[in-house]
Symmetry: C2
Subunit: 215 residues, 2 copies
């Protein structure tokens, strides 16, 4: 059993934030090594980081067999490696729904709003900041409205019962991005409530960008 995970991390990366939440929920200790994604630094593109992680992305976990990235794959690995508390519901249908909720964020929203994507749109198509801000908000609102329209109605304080799952672990970092870019959230009150309930939990609070911020 691994006792301490080494995480290549950046305080403002919403994908890294997911992994921090999951490790905290499992009470797994981790050492965070900052890879500064700030546009003025771009440490993830440095030769030294490329030698460590050919994908040149954050987050990634360092295991004795190598360094492995992709946040949603890491979340499933965390859940299989440390089964308690589970990050997915027990019933197959709820597992499908929780993973689908998470994927709406991890595939339909977040990939369209990464710094690399915004850079490409700026460079290739001459987009200005207003156009990029509208693009950013568009994908969040499209995804969030779809999630709000289909919120589970089961009992429990969270989306799929009495504990947060992969759904909340992806929602909370995306809500952080939405607030950071002043995206209108007035018509997604269910998501706002779930986000607030999660951020009251120590595992989420300790993982928040403002709690782990590096200079």
């Amino acid at each position: 059993m691994i006792m301490t995970v080494k995480l290549y991390d950046y305080w403002r990366s919403s994908s890294a934030y997911r992994v921090r939440i999951a490790l905290n929920l499992k009470q797994v200790a981790y050492d965070s090594e900052t890879v500064d994604l700030h546009p003025a630094v771009r440490a993830h593109l440095s030769p030294s980081y490329q030698a460590i992680n050919a994908q040149m992305r954050v987050p990634a976990v360092a295991l004795k067999e190598g360094v492995f990235g992709q946040s949603m794959a890491i979340l499933e690995w965390i859940d299989e490696t440390w089964p308690t508390p589970p990050l997915l519901p027990r019933l197959p249908l709820l597992r499908l729904r929780a993973r689908a909720f998470a994927q709406t964020i991890s595939s339909d929203i977040q990939p369209l709003n990464t710094p690399a994507v915004l850079d490409e749109i700026r460079t290739r198509f001459g987009a200005g900041q207003d156009g990029l801000d509208a693009w950013y908000a568009h994908w969040i609102r499209r995804g969030f409205l779809a999630l709000e329209a289909d919120l589970p109605s089961g009992p429990g304080r969270f989306l799929f019962g009495d504990a947060p799952t992969l759904a909340e672990i992806t929602l909370v970092p995306q809500m952080y991005n939405a607030r950071r870019f002043n995206v209108d959230l007035t018509d997604v009150p269910g998501l706002v409530d779930i986000d607030a309930a999660c951020r009251d939990l120590p595992a989420f609070a300790k993982a928040a960008p403002e709690a782990v911020r590096t200079p």
Copy 2:
């Protein structure tokens, strides 16, 4: 146990193609209901489909509890519902690597090249067809080169042993898109080989767009 799955499907959707492959590998019978995504039809945006699936996307599976989308969540649900043959390796590290390989495609490539995204770039930023084609190829090549640089070196005919996993199930449809848009594949020979080996398998061949094409 569900005996026949109803799949909302479109022959050319690479995400639907993933689900068809998985169902075939499990030898699970399914009824395919076409949702015509062609730009001249856009049946997924019709009120009748919206009433069925609020997310207005394909693929989706119809269960007695409702209609549920998101291909990667559906793949995990298929694997949990029909465990044989498994769609993931047995060892935790290989499960992490197979899921990460799949996620490089399902999060870093495919979401950037959907018709909805290309439409938004055209409308918002005035991109022409050449610009869109270059954008399309850019994300495929960036993701494929990262995957090629880090191909597993273990024994076995496929990426993670002697049977295809979620990695191949996402790779083959993405290779189809790459060929369709004439993306240069000369420097990803490992991916080309794996793709060819998979397409020789009946489960993959029966799921291919040309095999299931609707008018």
